[in-house]
Symmetry: C2
Subunit: 191 residues, 2 copies
DNA sequence: GTCTATAACGCGATAGAC
DNA sequence: GTCTATCGCGTTATAGAC
């Protein structure tokens, strides 16, 4: 099996265009043109424009889900879990920048069933994140602060990391991996 | 002069729909239907769909610009300035939730000149914010941390506040005004 | 697997009656 | 100021030749 077959190539190219202009602003002609073929030829590989979007969004969403499901039950401190989650966001931001941007900007353009699947994964993720944070506060590993505001602030920063990352060079990524957990968790860790 | 003339009503309704579905996913027929009229009738009040978007985005952008231009030169501590900026974001989030969402999601669909105006305001805002923060670090009012990561984290939280606010009741807004500055600036303020 | 041709439809915007 | 009618164009997707 090839590493990138034609369908994968289409989806990668679509993600790049969706990120730049938004799902609705990218036509099948735009996408085909970027691949050097005609729009009609795309339909030999994909079922519809909607299918492309759902493959992009759900693939990343599942990656987040898998990771937090693995971290969540571990017997380590809440701080360690939060650090692992932050590292994972950085990894995905680096490896799947375009996909992540699509997830953030265009998830609401998913059709009925795909949309429900996405929203369920998103809610479950946020719920596990909340429990980890609250657990840390209960055990006095973390300062007692308004948890909802803290959750929002951390998650929104992690979600939009791709906006910042794409402006920076790869050297600064090392700085990011080192300093972002501090920035997000400092003033929160009991000392 | 009436408080809300027809044009204002159109723009407010458009902002609500753009927020929910995105600029490109809302047709002039959708907008007209929401107002109980036909699409053609809209054009007695507005020049184009693009004009609606630019009025929404540039109005909010100008409000942010005006505020930071007023705060920036004042002779108070950097912390006071940052607190004032955070309060302003909360105010605008509450008062112009839909407009703010449009600015965040659809600014890239502005046409040539409007887009340039927006980007200039956005850059100027970020630059003044950066200078305030760096000034606070130089004067040891704030901890010396990687400034770009701090700037990104604070601004992205403030920009996306509307996502969080719209889920919460108005009572919790008082909590937000009290706790958000702490959450964003704690671990940053020297003590 | 890509092509040309085209179906079926929705889009933004305008003209002109009332 | 709102309406009906319509123009010209772009959209997703399909049929069938090669």
């Amino acid at each position: 099996m090839k590493v990138t077959d034609r369908k994968t190539e289409i989806i990668l190219t679509a993600a790049k265009l969706f990120r730049k202009k938004g799902y609705n602003a990218v036509s099948m002609r735009d996408l085909a043109s970027e691949l050097g073929i005609k729009a009609a030829s795309l339909y030999n590989h994909i079922k519809s424009k909607q299918e492309i979007l759902s493959e992009i969004v759900l693939q990343v969403a599942e990656r987040f889900t898998t990771h937090i499901d693995e971290i969540y039950p571990q017997e380590v401190s809440s701080i360690k879990k939060l650090e692992a989650i932050i590292q994972n966001h950085i990894e995905i931001t680096i490896q799947q920048t375009d996909f992540l941007a699509c997830l953030n900007n265009d998830w609401m353009h998913l059709a009925e069933e795909n949309l429900q699947d996405y929203l369920k994964m998103r809610n479950d993720y946020e719920e596990k994140f909340r429990k980890i944070l609250l657990d840390g506060m209960v055990k006095n590993e973390l300062e007692n602060r308004n948890p909802e505001i803290v959750i929002f602030s951390i998650l929104t920063t992690l979600r939009t990391l791709y906006l910042w990352y794409s402006k920076k060079s790869s050297i600064e990524v090392e700085v990011l991996k080192k300093d972002l957990p501090k920035t997000l968790l400092n003033g929160l860790i009991q000392n």
